[in-house]
Symmetry: D2
Subunit: 129 residues, 4 copies
């Protein structure tokens, strides 16, 4: 199981929903770019962009829905899920990060943080090795 940390720009308005089982989910697309020094041009230029679908669950999903907007700069750490899919008509690869932590990147601004009443989320269903 791979963990990855990504810093980038929230590219879509976060979508929030609650499943029939009562599980809150929030997700959005994140674009991560970097700068590199091109010695031929002797200056800094843009590298390529990595695209991810970020997904949050439970209390994190609720807080993200209330705090994160398209255009924000976010830092997120989570589990990487790379799946090949095929629905008969089309096929592709989905790249998703299931967030275990996420926050506005203070490299780009300041934030006023309000603590949610401290409740511990239910422990995970499965244990992982």
């Amino acid at each position: 199981m791979e963990t990855v940390s990504v810093t980038g720009l929230v590219a879509t308005t976060p979508r929030h929903l609650v499943t029939q089982d009562g599980l809150p989910i929030t997700s959005f697309r994140l674009a991560s770019s970097y700068r590199k020094f091109d010695r031929e041009q002797n200056k800094w230029v843009d590298g390529e962009t990595n695209w991810f679908t970020i997904t949050a669950f439970k209390q994190l999903a609720i807080n993200v829905a209330g705090s994160v907007n398209k255009g924000d700069r976010i830092t997120v750490t989570g589990t990487l899920r790379v799946r090949d899919w095929d629905n008969g008509e089309r096929s592709g690869t989905s790249v998703e990060v299931e967030a275990t932590s996420m926050g506005h990147d203070l490299t780009w601004g300041t934030s006023v943080f309000t603590r949610t009443v401290l409740v511990r989320d239910a422990e995970p269903e499965d244990e992982l090795v």
Copy 2:
């Protein structure tokens, strides 16, 4: 060079200073804990705590000084520096994370983010391989 991502509790009041060369620096101690399922006791218990010194520079240092307080929950990604030191009298090992991104962990609350006027920090002095 190792990159590490840490999520934890800000254990000391962040200290902020500006060097003679005009470089803003903010640092604090971060405690990272985790929960594990103990099958003998058949319940979730606390694992051990990792301790880090987190250091931020330039615009990130300024924003962290204005946004982060002791007791906050933070997610940070950066370069790991593990150095053995010896000053003649005493010796030890320092474990520091030089932050490349940092933010309040939205697992624990909500945040109102204010963008700093967009200025690009000077590119780094050295290039790394």
Copy 3:
């Protein structure tokens, strides 16, 4: 720019080639699985599989071509590249890891290592921030 570490099974025979510019490249598909404890069934079961295309360059590419076979267990660290592509007819997402280090995972066996004559690969063309 994201760094990721993956451990898994070499799923295809590594392909090796040298570009017109004289750059050696070796690549293969890697499948990474994990085990998780399902509490309903009260036993360990397989989690889902992540699929990656692993690419190595220069001396690493040459050594991988001479050491790695389909069916081997590998641990690799490198730069993650997630790109959406569209060639007019079809579109998709490619997920690639450009290896900065790679080796047989000793969890699964033993290895006899032979050092290549020590030559330092040319430093990278661009510097990255």
Copy 4:
């Protein structure tokens, strides 16, 4: 809990032992360096070195003891343990990586890999969140 990946030089001869409970353990010190481009000198120079104690358990410990020597180049991924200790007389900080995978870095040579008979190690005692 933090995961870290380190590539470096095995600085001490790996020590191997089996505990009273029958648990094989192998450990050694690993030095990780990097190169950086110094623009004032307009050339590549050595960066600083990170020092880690690497520890392996069970089948990995046995295979590492039989394959890894002082002076080898290794890539390892595992759990980072940063603990402050105090034995009354002296105090310090220990920085250890408990390896989940490890192998000779093929950037530096070739390897002939021999698979151990396929036995699945006992699943871990505790589950982690």
